[in-house]
Symmetry: C2
Subunit: 456 residues, 2 copies
């Protein structure tokens, strides 16, 4: 039966890519209020696609934010139920001028499909939908029961799905969850994710004088919020990469010996791959920890944006009244984002230079998680990847945060299979985001295989 399913995917490849392309044309940027209608259109697209596949129940669920799309197809009382998660919203595409082709006009170059959201996450949702369609049309129906929940706020607050999952645990009851929203090490080395860091995202606003000042008249005695913000951020993390939030360091657990050994020895030379992807000669960060541990298990503090004063063409000798930075902390599994935000806020106030006023705003976040690898579903995913790639997958911790993975883990108490088909050079959240069409094909094949393997 798997043979006809895989043949269906090959035969319908071009049409499936075409469908993905039509979804990618919708600029569903969830963090821009003016894009709300586009986000809704992307949800409608997903609703229609699920109905076309044959899901007997499909719902678009209104929320305080962007809608959720829920579908279920429960035809086998004796088979396990898989809950599939994905998101149909995308990151902002700016800076637009750095895109080689427009972010919402999907374009194929060198075997890659370029578009905002192509790998994060529409393309990876599409490969699951394609595998489900192939089983439905060519495999005699889905081999297991499937529930599917798509959100439109993954790149924004994620609040709606959080509320919905907590309010509807019976409806979402399942034996395992599948999330295709991560990357693998390389196209020849598959990997499964066994840990995700949590996240706290905050905005720090620094204030000085009550109005902008002329540096000629006030320079030397005036507060300068840009400079104060620089001093603060330098104090929160020095060039040594050490984050000076003592509560956070004290709460960071030591990793298991087996993972520590993998990170210390780095047998796949992943550090070399990271350098290559970034185009740098050396990695930065905490010297006391190997790069893979810094990436997967250590807390991080990053500044994502900063603005203040005059940034146009030419020269203006203003001392602005205000400057703003956006920062995030990535958190080891187990830490509570709200608690960590309090620690951050205290550290910000403690380190703000005299003569300035500071505000810290909590913009969102999520908990990390660790997946135990010893269960039927992880074993099935391992076998499916082995079958497609001919190589045994390795278990990795992912530096990124997928708050919903921790949510499903905690509220539904199910194993979460984090099987993603992105590659390290896919430029997630950056200009020229891409998805390898070969990885798209292998992803469809692997998920189709996985669905067959979890049948009892």
């Amino acid at each position: 039966m798997l043979g006809t399913v895989q043949a269906y995917l090959k035969d319908n490849h071009d049409r499936l890519v075409e469908e993905l392309t039509s979804w990618l044309r919708i600029p569903s940027v969830s963090s821009y209020a003016e894009r709300a209608e586009d986000v809704r259109r992307a949800a409608v697209w997903a609703h229609q696609k699920l109905a076309d596949i044959g899901f007997p129940k499909v719902e678009t669920i209104s929320t305080d934010g962007h809608p959720l799309v829920y579908a279920e197809w429960l035809a086998h009382p004796d088979q396990p139920t898989l809950l599939v998660y994905g998101h149909y919203d995308v990151q902002p595409a700016e800076p637009l001028e750095e895109w080689q082709s427009p972010p919402f006009e999907p374009t194929v170059r060198n075997g890659n499909l370029y578009a905002r959201g192509v790998v994060d996450d529409k393309g990876q949702v599409m490969l699951v939908l394609a595998a489900l369609e192939a089983w439905a049309r060519a495999g005699g129906g889905l081999p297991v029961n499937v529930k599917l929940l798509l959100e439109g706020e993954e790149e924004a607050s994620g609040e709606s799905i959080d509320a919905y999952v907590r309010a509807n645990p019976e409806r979402l009851e399942a034996d395992a969850a599948l999330i295709c929203d991560t990357s693998m090490i390389s196209e020849t080395q598959p990997s499964l994710i066994t840990g995700l860091r949590g996240l706290v995202y905050a905005e720090i606003a620094m204030y000085g004088a009550r109005r902008d000042l002329h540096s000629g008249s006030f320079g030397g005695v005036a507060p300068n919020p840009i400079h104060a913000l620089c001093l603060l951020l330098s104090r929160l993390k020095g060039e040594d990469g050490v984050i000076r939030i003592p509560e956070l360091e004290a709460a960071t657990p030591s990793p298991p010996a087996v993972e520590k050994r993998f990170w210390d020895t780095d047998p796949l030379n992943l550090a070399g791959l990271l350098r290559h992807e970034m185009g740098v000669d050396a990695l930065v960060g905490e010297a006391a920890f190997p790069p893979l541990e810094r990436l997967g298990a250590r807390p991080t503090l990053e500044v994502h944006g900063i603005r203040g004063g005059f940034t146009g063409e030419g020269a203006k000798t203003v001392i602005p009244a205000e400057a703003v930075a956006k920062v995030s902390l990535r958190l080891p599994a187990g830490l509570k984002p709200d608690q960590v935000f309090d620690w951050l806020e205290r550290a910000v106030h403690r380190n703000t230079p005299d003569g300035h006023r500071v505000e810290v705003r909590h913009l969102g976040g999520g908990e990390g998680m660790v997946v135990a690898p010893d269960n039927l579903f992880i074993r099935a995913a391992t076998s499916a990847l082995q079958a497609t790639y001919g190589v045994t997958p390795v278990f990795m911790r992912e530096g990124g945060s997928i708050p919903v993975a921790a949510l499903l883990d905690q509220v539904l108490n199910v194993p979460v299979v984090l099987m993603g088909f992105g590659l390290p050079d896919d430029a997630l959240h950056a200009p020229n985001e891409k998805f390898s069409l070969a990885q798209f094909d292998r992803g469809m094949a692997t998920v189709a295989d996985f669905l067959g393997r979890i049948r009892r």
Copy 2:
């Protein structure tokens, strides 16, 4: 004769303010390439006004940048010649949303005229033009010979006037120069400027990875140019206000004892005025020097603008490939800006965190100057201010930079009278720039008086 001149100014007050208003409506922002035509229109306005006053020779001089406007009226071979300088270009008006009335729609509120450029410098040029007009129409002609040179690049590079003055010292030969482009202490305490700091303006661009990165995938090992820029700026100047460019500190002269005493004792409580204008409880800066010395004679380093990464609404977990800051150094008189730029560039490279690449771009600058107060023209200005305000003016060093003052001092070797009528709360270079109409009136009266006093 002075009586009829002053009466003319009173009688024509409303029409003179109306003329100024029409000049202010032209958005002559010299640092915006797309405003070049508006800058030219502002030059044409000045040309026409000078012709209307009766100057027998008026020229608009093309340059590589914005035009110069030159006029001369040399009717008295036995009288001294005064060279008047001013500028008709203005600073950018952004952020526009902070203006209570639009920057290029002059509006009177509470006895103040609000508009971009109203005090810096169109309004102050206008009060000189008004005094000249009053002498021409009601005083029997100008009492002395007058040359007048207006530029349109004071808020940008200032390169054209520099080249012109150096190439035409005979044409511009004079006995003294008058510049009305500064502020006085308060509307009851007139002051004359006896020193101006020099300026170096630079842009620092910091680079990390070859493209923007997702902090989930790379955070902890990736270079972050925003953070590196913050570290760099924190190293160039700490919270203690001390600039860590050793060559600059070594080259900073000790001030004369009389000025040092004035700064140490601050008999007019100018520090209190500064706090009031800024709306702050305490001044910041180098604790080892009194505020007035920090403001007038010490070098300063200020960050005027910074940008990098994502600064829109909401959250985006990007690590950008680039971040940029604009900085200036104010310089004690006598230091050469090009030399100081080299020191800055060296300090930037020395203090750039590992793993990042930095570029420093020289955007402009000018030398400082010190005026000796013991000459006929400064004495005449002192008496004119005393006559108008009923209070003896004090001599001050101005923290700002007027490169052309140093240029006239050096190339023409004339005393430079820096007599400005701005007030500390005029919001130069900031939203809601204003000029007190009472100060405008007193300025016209004072300059008219001054012109009479320098007649032999």
